[in-house]
Amino acid sequence: MSSDLHHLDISAASAGLRGGKFSSRELVKSCLNQIQKHNSGINAFLTLNEHALEEADQADINLPLGGIPMAIKDNFLTQGLRTTASSKVLDNYIPQYDSTVVEKLKKAGAIILGKTNMDAWAHGSSTETSDYGPTLNPWNTGHLPGGSSGGSAAAVRADMCTFAIGSETAGSIRQPAAWCGITGFKPTYGRISRYGVIAMASSTDSPGPLTKTAVDASTITSLLAGKDPSDATTIPGNYQKILPKNGKKLKIGVAVEYLLPQMKDEVKKLIREAAGVLLRLGMSVEDISLMDPNYSVGVYTIVQRSEVSSNLARYDGIRYGLDRSHFGEEAKRRIMLGTYTLSSGYYDQYYQKALKVRTMIIEDFNRAFRQVDLVIGATSPGPALKVGASRNQPMFGEMEDILVEPSSIAGLTGISVPCGFVDGLPIGLQIIGPQGGEESVFRVALEYQSAVDWHLARPSLT
């Protein structure tokens, strides 16, 4: 039993700890062994917490996450533990304070194992833009894990931790979750505090969990959600509970525009199969039409680059970190594009227009959510791409994230759950709900995972 402790999800690990079947130290040790064995091959962790075992010894297992080992994406500030956002600019940066998410996790008793790799500054969907080398996909190390929370997704799938925290600006949780075959949840914008998260695109950044099951994602979300006096954009309240199974009959819409022409038939088939599962579970399923997701790519690119150009201005190397010469290609490209789109004369043409289209996208979703309760589709056009796929492709992320950008721009909630394999690599099903629709998103994800076992598959690591 104890040799496979790292396989456990949060529910099982907590039950084991509280039932006295094993100690937090054993659980943490099991994950650390996994990291020791496989991190050199996968490169999921950038920095390890040297005190993890001591903290495990002192863990209060009666706390909600007491003694549970977990990983944190390296753009969340951790007091005293190096935080780089995978950029050499912050190579030596030791934060003076904890992000709200980290503070809440510590209070809930979680044991932080370390910080996970990501695209530098979260700029990307491959983890290839990390200044510390790419993370590789645990299913096939010739492939990418997705990004930007690629390190967190790979760490969970490689059983290096019980769960991980990531952040999503447009797909950065759901897309790597899909490529690595785990559950990734993006809450409504403002549901979880951004305080202490190195800002990428402030108006869409949303922290969220990467987990082995939808139940775990709901557990973590309920612990992290809520108004934060340090983040003016957080929304009050939590979601109450996951909707009960015997509640109202849910109407599911399959977004036909999200079954892209360039998409592999096998992917489309898996989405239709997943819709069939939901139908058998007693939900109604119908095809619906949404605005062409290509429009979202344009809007997202402009808004995100603009905000990036401003958010990265503070990294001047005067007070902390290294100087600007350490910025990578992708960051420089985004700063330049964002500076351009905000320049006088261009602002109306780009940023203002993007905001107008953003409003139209929100209205389009509002219309869809009058017709159905939730929208489903593929998380990503296909399975994980090969290492090197993002190189020299500035719009790589946008094209891979095309199916998650619209809901991000609209601030919606959504989840990606594994729904099958193509070419031996996992495919993700995304379930999108309206703002504040966490209760029904989780209900559908839970019911789906009670009917299938795609989320239980794990790669054999070599």
Binding site: P95, S310, A313
Partner: protein, 440 residues
Amino acid sequence: MKYVPVLGFEVHIELATKSKMFCGCPADHFGKSPNTQTCPVCLGLPGALPVPNSRAIEWCIKLGLALNCEVNLFSKFDRKNYFYPDLPKGYQISQYDLPFCKQGFLDLSSGKRIQITRVHMEEDTGKLQHAVINDGEKVTLVDFNRSGVPLVEVVTEPDFSNTQETSEFLKELQQIVRVLKISSADMEKGSMRLEANISVRPENQSGLPEYKVEIKNVNSFRFIKKAVEFEILRQTRILESGASPVQETRGFNESKGETFSQRTKEEADDYRYFPEPDIPPFSFEVDKIKEWQSQLPVLPIQNRLELMEKYGLSASNAYIISSNDTMRTIFIRAAEIGEIAAKTLADFLVNKKYGTRFPDSPSELIKLVKSANSVQSEESVLLPVVSEIIAQNPEAVASFKSGKQQSIGFLIGQVRRRLPDADPSATQKLIMDNLSGKSS
């Protein structure tokens, strides 16, 4: 050709709130040891987020209301992007197209109206200190205690014609801020900062000139007046010589009494403003604005109007008396007693006839005015002047003697020009006595 100045102001006022604009650090930074009042937010550390100070916003809007502004019911913050070592985030949180308040005005004592373009909220920057350390190494140090202190910016239209108007406006603004108790508006401490925008155009030409000179970092009313006057003259001379002044920022050398070039602007700055995504926009209820309006204290202009309308004072006397709370209170209470005409009381106060010690009470003021006036009704004071006036005005004397009674009024007037406080009836009696030969 005659040239006239085109003159407007930008005034920054640091609010005296307990905490800073976007974090919990104390806002009172004056004289505190460097970098002792900072936190991740006002240091611009990674991940830190601004949370707006609602008291500061209330105060900004109240100042706008006191300046007769319209309040934008929908408003927001914007980022003003630029690099400077005292600006830790690489942008300043300010307001761009939707300031909290817009389109107000302030009336001068002459009745001239100065238009207020906008009153908006922003955050102050840190402070640079140039120093020499250790072995003579020259360094620039940054103190972030001031970083993030709430700052209100009041922008006027270029409506001023001269420095008399600017001085009155600026003093009035300072008074309003103090009456509202939102800032000490102390210029020496930098809690009120003035920036003048000056250009000069030919009188017969309308529209704005193609250049604009900003005068910055002048920290007293007296010096800004001197700087503006110097600048008007300097620019006029350049224009008269056929050249055009350059667009630039100038400082003021207090000892030389001259402005000097600090930075020329080849092009307009591009601050790449965009809506601050970390702070949701604001919607204000009309009732809330009405409530704030109703909470405004009595403003200097209202005091002035009261003095003019109720007590019949001239605009300039009303301005002087209302500028001083003690003077105003004593004046009103003494006038209410009714023993002495309000105008006489006002003249007495404005001309400082009380001497070196200001009267403690209305009754003391009345006593002082009476005794002062009684001096002027004393023959020993009046007679020499009366005799002299009679001697100097033989025509009026002749006219009086020929029966034109109104000529006596002219003579009394002449005496009172010399002795403004001469008691009219005592003077008349002395003149009559003199002309009828009763006097010795």
